[in-house]
Amino acid sequence: MPLLELEDVVASYGPVKALHGISLSVEEGAIVAVLGANGAGKTTTLRAVTNTVRRTGEIRFDGRSLAREPAESIAALGIAHVPEGRGLFPELTIVENLKLGAYVRRGSIKSDLDRVYAYFPWMGRRRQELAGSLSGGEQQMLALARAFMQKPRLLLLDEPSLGLAPIIVSEIFTIVRELNQEGMTVVVVEQNAHIALQLAATAYVLEVGTVALHGPSEELQQHESVRRSYLGY
């Protein structure tokens, strides 16, 4: 049974429909990319999962329907959502952000904090600094570290590469791959199709709120229209 399933999900912002019935499925342990142009509905798809947008249709996480779950219960179910804008608290310190990541967990988080500081020594050194004083790349890393602190089964990433220099982007994606290797299922929404298809094994291409294509990344990379529209050659 797939970890995450969407069936015929329709979502709207007020009177404007953003998703016209999309279906997707994500197997446990996989990395799935969701691609598409601006306005295609990628971000809305993630928001539909965490109920931060009005939606109808079937959404199942590990077999359990998310239709009626309010946004604040989603984290406790094991889903971490790093939204556009990273969802950090710029007015709070780095360590406070990390602690909030672990909000739904019980028990000690110290060992996980130590792991984060080991992986990102700069976070350890600057832990009392405000998150808002970090650069874009650092904020993205903090967002991922915070997601790590939550220990979710499913990680939803919205445009992690946005506004970042290519070298930082590949660092970010390395981190994502490692998180996946530790057992986290990842759905990553990206405009940067090139790097997303390198990371993910499967991908969905959205156009105007519907799924236009989906399949294994290698196939999509060869696909005529994908190459022309999203890969540039």
Binding site: A75, L88, K99
Partner: protein, 340 residues
């Protein structure tokens, strides 16, 4: 579409971005240091000055308590609770009633704090939550309606004539180097600042406190990490009401006279302090409250033309208005940027 929705759109646009407030800027800190030096020198020079300063700190800590309540609520829910003073007055009457029923002062004090907490949570859930998404005008009107209701209820139950409550601290006066410092003043400062300190520790060092701060700053992001934001807001109101209750109970401890209008001027001083400190800065409101208390006290003695006690309130307003016109974000806030 109702006018409130139209106004609501306007209100949302008028709220600036959330600010990263790390505290005061250098000139403000410099001003504070200069003020402290001035007060120390003045106190050494004249024992009357020292006395006025101390009692000013005591009064100011009452303003600070109520101002902090206003700021907490404003930060969390963007609502100015015009009924905060009346809620404080109501809890004080409740304490009075408890003493009539046989409780000792301090037992009544703590019981009232508990009742205040529950009351604050209830008000938020019943009255404020439904209007939170509406325009500022709707919220202002609801809090004014609440003010009206509380006034009426208090007069209904207890009547409008003054009531007397036992003084919590007694009338003893200590002499410190020629300066007469009353136990009442010390007790007021102790209780008010103590409450503020306990709350500060709670917000800084506990998980729940962190979650409440997060909910006030970024409710959407807080929801995504699993914080029950609505519950946090309700708790915020609970704590704010407790602060208000403390302010009410400390308002005139030497000769406790309860009247239904007793908190009205205090509310104004608290507004002035909250705006002066910065509506988004808890520390600012506490510092500003104390400063205002000292300032008004000194003005009453050395203020020349402005010495008339009837002018205390207008002076506080003048402060409020000047701050609003010159630097609305107050001493400790950063200027808000208007989102287009």
């Amino acid at each position: 579409m109702s006018v409130y929705e139209l106004l609501g759109r306007l209100a949302i646009r008028d709220v600036g971005t959330r600010r990263i407030s790390t505290g005061a800027s250098a000139p403000v800190l410099g001003l504070l240091v200069a003020a402290c030096i001035f007060l120390t020198v003045g106190s050494l020079w004249s024992s009357q000055f020292a006395q006025l300063t101390v009692s000013g700190v005591a009064q100011g800590s009452v303003f600070a308590s109520l101002a902090l309540a206003l700021v907490l609520i404003y930060r969390a829910t963007e609502v100015i609770n015009f009924a905060q003073g009346e809620m404080a007055m109501l809890t004080t009457y409740i304490a009075y009633q408890l003493t009539l029923w046989g409780l000792s002062y301090w037992a009544a004090f703590f019981a009232t704090l508990g009742i205040a907490f529950v009351g604050g949570v209830t008000v938020q859930q019943v009255l404020i939550r439904p209007v939170q998404q509406k325009s500022i005008i709707a919220i202002v009107i609801v809090s004014i309606g609440l003010l009206s209701i509380i006034d009426g209820v208090v007069i209904w139950i207890w009547g409008g004539d003054p009531k007397f409550m036992p003084a919590p601290f007694g009338a003893s006066v200590y002499r410190v180097g020629g300066v007469a410092v009353s136990l009442t003043d010390l007790g007021t400062i102790g209780v008010a600042i103590g409450t503020v300190l306990v709350l500060w520790l709670f917000f800084q060092f506990t998980k729940l406190g962190l979650a409440m701060r997060a909910s006030a700053l970024r409710p959407a992001a807080a929801r995504l990490v699993g914080v029950r934001v609505n519950l946090m807001l309700a708790l915020g109101w609970g704590f704010a009401t407790v602060l208000g209750a403390v302010a009410g109970l400390l308002t005139e401890p030497s000769q406790f006279v309860l009247t239904p209008t007793m908190m009205q001027p205090i509310l104004i001083y608290a507004f002035a302090a909250a705006v002066l400190g910065g509506l988004e800065s808890p520390m600012g409101s506490v510092v500003a409250g104390i400063a205002l208390g000292i300032f008004l006290n000194l003005l009453g003695q050395y203020g020349g033309y402005l010495q008339d006690s009837a002018l205390r309130l207008p002076v506080a307003f003048a402060v409020l208005l000047v701050v609003l016109l010159v630097k609305p974000s107050g001493l400790f806030g950063r200027a808000a940027v208007r989102k287009v």
